[in-house]
């Protein structure tokens, strides 16, 4: 009997990988859209203190930031060398905190307002005076959920 054989030895066709990058691009666009990198320009120098009992901020969209530190060298002529408060990307005074809280609350829906947290990013060499004043201002407008930003130390966890 004539053995049936393939006429030529054909290699199995290579799996087309042309669509792999498309899948990756889809994932990439997803990440580019869903995660936003902080776009606020720091006008103050902040070295966060270390703390072991830190917890991740749960819902980043409901967090507003208040920065306190000494102005960067570029801004020192205008604002001096004592610690100042930065709200969003403007250096502000204590009296503008209430207004800032209202603005931040307006950006979120009514239902989310009680869940909002204010994260205080304060340079570790700041004196407590200004921090306490900021906390008092927050209390006056009933912004009671706060978070002291801190770094986790590089110790090995056991």
């Amino acid at each position: 009997m004539a053995t049936i054989r393939k006429k030529t030895k054909e290699s199995t066709p290579a799996i087309s990988t042309a669509s792999l990058p498309d899948i990756i691009f889809i994932l990439l666009f997803f990440f580019m859209v869903s995660t936003t990198m902080k776009e606020v320009d720091y006008k103050v120098k902040i070295t966060l203190p270390e703390a072991t009992e830190v917890k991740k901020l749960e819902n980043k969209s409901l967090v507003s930031y208040i920065y306190i530190g000494t102005p960067l060298p570029a801004y020192q002529q205008k604002y001096g060398t004592k610690p100042v408060i930065q709200l969003n990307d403007q250096i502000a005074g204590l009296d503008q905190i209430a207004q800032y809280v209202e603005q931040e609350r307006a950006k979120r829906s009514q239902a989310d307002v009680p869940k909002m947290t204010f994260s205080l990013k304060v340079d570790e060499n700041t004196d407590m005076g200004i921090v306490t004043d900021v906390k008092q201002e927050l209390r006056k407008v009933q912004a009671l959920k706060i978070n002291y930003s801190a770094r986790k130390p590089y110790k090995k966890q056991n």
Binding site: S16, L20, P21, L28, F31, A51, K60, L138, R139, Y148
Partner: protein, 212 residues
């Protein structure tokens, strides 16, 4: 023989895309957004009377502008703070200088005998008795006071130790009851533990503290 023109090998395009993807995955988590969660007390009108608290139920922690610590009036080191706070809340030997602790069953009875019992509290106490057992709850408060000149780094260190002490107590109870650390519990279980060990920290207005 006419061969089929080979398709452009697109494998390297996937590599480029992987690189971009990993870049974004890494850079968007670079902002350190962790911190110590705290709740500020609501503002009180200046003429409101402070609530009556027994002196034994208050652990006074002071930090002066030289960043020195004083617990209950005696100079102390930050490293001792965590254990002192734990001891203050637990008070295993019923030391009259440390906080008062009550059994949940007694608190439940007390609540039920009130003219207007708080049903939420009663439900919580009952749940605790069912799930955890008859543990003791402290009436203690840690009162933290700092000077306006205190360094923020020091203040955070002290806050960290106090919060750490309460977290340690919570983890201990979670492990004893369910064998898991506090963060691995369900929301309901965490609620019960929070009821027994609340973040009972009070902060006063800063003023100048005399250095010892």
């Amino acid at each position: 023989m006419a061969r089929k023109i080979p398709e452009i090998n697109a494998a390297s395009m996937a590599d480029i895309a992987f690189m971009l993807l990993i870049f974004f995955l890494v850079t968007t988590t670079m902002s350190v957004d962790m911190g110590i969660n705290r709740k500020l007390p609501p503002p009180v009108p200046p003429d409101a009377k402070p609530p009556k608290v027994k002196e034994r139920n208050v652990l006074v922690v002071l930090i002066n502008k030289d960043n020195k610590l004083a617990i209950e009036g005696d100079p102390a080191d930050v490293s001792t703070l965590r254990d002192r706070v734990k001891e203050f809340f637990l008070n295993p030997n019923n030391d009259p200088n440390l906080s008062e602790t009550f059994y949940i069953s007694d608190l439940l009875k007390e609540e039920m005998n009130k003219p207007k019992p708080d049903q939420d509290k009663i439900r919580k106490y009952r749940d605790i008795l069912d799930e955890i057992g008859d543990v003791k709850k402290s009436k203690g408060v840690v009162s933290l006071q700092n000077d306006r000149g205190t360094l923020y780094g020091k203040y955070i260190e002290v806050q960290n130790e106090i919060v750490g002490a309460i977290n340690d107590l919570r983890n201990q109870l979670a492990k004893d009851t369910w064998g898991k650390p506090y963060d691995d519990l369900t929301k309901e279980q965490q609620k019960l533990i929070r009821e027994i060990y609340p973040f009972s920290i009070s902060e006063a207005e800063p003023r100048s503290i005399k250095t010892k």
